[in-house]
Symmetry: C2
């Protein structure tokens, strides 16, 4: 039986997250340095690693929170009526992840479909996204707006695949004037979900 954490510990953790979030705000995710975090939090380096497994563990909390917020917005938009609307619902997520390779890498690393640790924020967010997509796809199938010959779970996972694909391509070029991920996604979703004629 593991003991409940003491008050001090909770404060330290909160301080670390607060400082980290501030630094991300100022310098972006890729500008985050562990040494900066502990310095500004007035804490020893070892302390950070007793709260988070590693730097990714810290980032996972920050990014996981943001993903949750995005999912709230996505859900608030309501169920899409067709593939095009679905693409639109996914656009904020793509914009967010597309802003920094660090986000993409981290999400990719933690996004095992049936992952092991559901207590992790990122994993929870991932499961929630798949569940939401599956629900929407079911509705679209029932409405006859998309193909019905495949289970909604498979279609949902396929969408995940395309999301990561367009993001991967996005990060492979100096995206100065290129088509943003959200636009690149559309043809894939159309082809993937297209109702069988």
């Amino acid at each position: 039986m593991t003991r409940a954490p003491q008050k001090r510990r909770l404060e330290t953790r909160a301080k670390l997250l607060e400082v980290a979030a501030a630094i991300v705000q100022e310098q972006g995710y890729s500008g985050l340095r562990v040494e900066d975090v502990v310095a500004r939090a007035r804490v020893a380096k070892g302390t950070l690693f007793s709260h988070f497994k590693d730097k990714d563990g810290l980032l996972a909390v920050l990014i996981g929170d943001e993903v949750m917020r995005l999912l709230d917005g996505m859900e608030a938009g309501g169920a899409p009526q067709d593939a095009a609307e679905l693409t639109a619902r996914l656009a904020p997520h793509l914009d967010y992840v597309g802003q920094d390779r660090v986000i993409f890498d981290l999400l990719l690393r933690y996004s095992g479909t049936t992952a092991a640790e559901p207590d992790e924020v990122v994993t929870a967010g991932f499961l929630r996204q798949v569940a939401l997509l599956t629900r929407w796809l079911q509705l679209l199938q029932a409405a006859g707006r998309i193909r019905r010959d495949q289970p909604p779970e498979l279609l949902a996972e396929g969408i995940q695949a395309f999301l990561n694909h367009v993001l991967g391509v996005w990060f492979c070029m100096e995206h100065d004037d290129e088509t943003p991920p959200a636009r690149a996604l559309e043809p894939y979703l159309q082809a993937w979900l297209q109702p069988a004629p």
Copy 2:
């Protein structure tokens, strides 16, 4: 106008690659340390970085070569007759990449579709794979074995997306007894290529 490299330089580069390949053979890609390479090659650390941009640059050559070899085998198998056979052709590639996360990460990072530097081995391999897939898909379309409502290029890119997807999932769990990537790929390809009825 850049000068031709001197003989000594070519020898050093070859030695570095030879040593690196040997270490990978013994310890796997994730066991490769720059300091080990330069020690065994009897060369200073700075030398390695004058030959390769960074550690990834070295790995890219090793991995790119292997990918090329796999493509040779893939091409030698001849054009597939249907989606199932296509899956089988891709299996060796999945097995190779699935063996070490380092390979996956590197390929993902360099796999921009229309990449900038075609002199890079990895990029060349990537372009070759897309070209080969596109050709095969064209044949399958002509034979009426797969859907014809989408351009073969889009279908080929979609396959890339699914390859990365199953690999990503694969690396997210302790793959002791799980279904290997090649098996996981099949339902996606079936659904993606299925001829419109």
